[in-house]
Symmetry: C2
Subunit: 192 residues, 2 copies
């Protein structure tokens, strides 16, 4: 996966949020790292919260299009489509660890920003749910509650961010292939 393209401000903000958490981060420190004055930084981003919101939305946006593209690639073959979607989610989590880690800071967003972010993030869950529903209807998958299984699988993939670090012996593609097998079994399909 190509490196993350962020403005220098957002790149510094991501580092500072990751190191100190949202409440420990200061706009002053972010400005210092990019060699900007605080007022100059405020010209681009309203406040600390809007920096976090911008980063979280950017991540949700990227995850959403990757997952949509993965689903489109194998439309019609449910097990392949499902495997593609899980693979895209795991590759996102393992290649975008910095973004995946700050996802926990979500709870510090204002209700309005949180709702907007939640809606974008919901795209990924919806695509996964639709694939599971379609596969169940076609008899390819055996799932009693597609929406719950979708949320559970998403949680399983997101939790990789708790332990995976770039440079691990295990490559993102290895992690993805293991999780595709586990997820296929979860929906009652045979691992490939």
């Amino acid at each position: 996966m190509e490196p993350l393209e962020l403005s220098v401000i957002l790149d510094a903000a991501l580092d500072v949020f990751q190191e100190h958490g949202f409440h420990g981060a200061t706009v002053r420190e972010i400005a210092r790292r990019v060699g900007m004055t605080v007022p100059a930084l405020y010209y681009h981003h309203e406040n600390k919260e809007s920096l976090l919101a911008a980063l979280l939305e950017l991540g949700a946006e990227e995850a959403a299009w990757r997952v949509r593209a993965a689903a489109d690639e194998a439309a019609g073959r449910r097990d392949l489509q499902f495997a593609n979607v899980i693979e895209a989610i795991v590759l996102y989590v393992t290649c975008r660890t910095r973004l995946a880690i700050i996802d926990a800071e979500l709870r510090y967003l204002s209700p309005r920003a949180r709702r907007r972010y939640a809606a974008r993030r919901k795209v990924v869950e919806n695509v996964l749910t639709e694939v599971i529903e379609a596969g169940s209807a076609e008899g390819v998958f055996t799932v009693s509650d597609p929406a719950e299984t979708s949320r559970a699988l998403l949680g399983m993939c997101q939790s990789i961010a708790r332990w995976y670090r770039p440079g691990d012996r295990l490559k993102p593609a290895d992690v993805a292939s293991r999780y595709v097998d586990i997820a296929l079994q979860t929906v009652g399909a045979q691992p490939s």
Copy 2:
């Protein structure tokens, strides 16, 4: 599950960590909530980090004994034992949401405290892995990599803390029963 028994200091610290995150939390604020002076609080807990470490260890300790007890209860019947263990983990996450949420603050512990906590938390993962391994050896489960499946299932259960809130229409026992079914299928066993 009986309410969490915490000292007044740890109870206040848990609230403050949850509201402000580790870096946003101050010992002054925690002391204020329990009506103590800062020096008096330092008499009980060395510093802010030791408060977080105490809370995380307490949670890991409780999760560990609950999961061990759940496994012991049905030793011999692997599918029941596995269902018991998953149920215990989900009940812990849904009944101890406050502790489950601050788990993300783990990354702010010193390497030493983090290693100690990780060792205690590993107990839960090890019990689950052993049950999956035993079930695979006995042909009750079909799992190609018990340790990876165990980590994945643990992540799936922990991620419930991202969306579950006490008082939700869905009761902890309902969530547990859904996740037991999903997890049984993940290890290739029939949901009960």
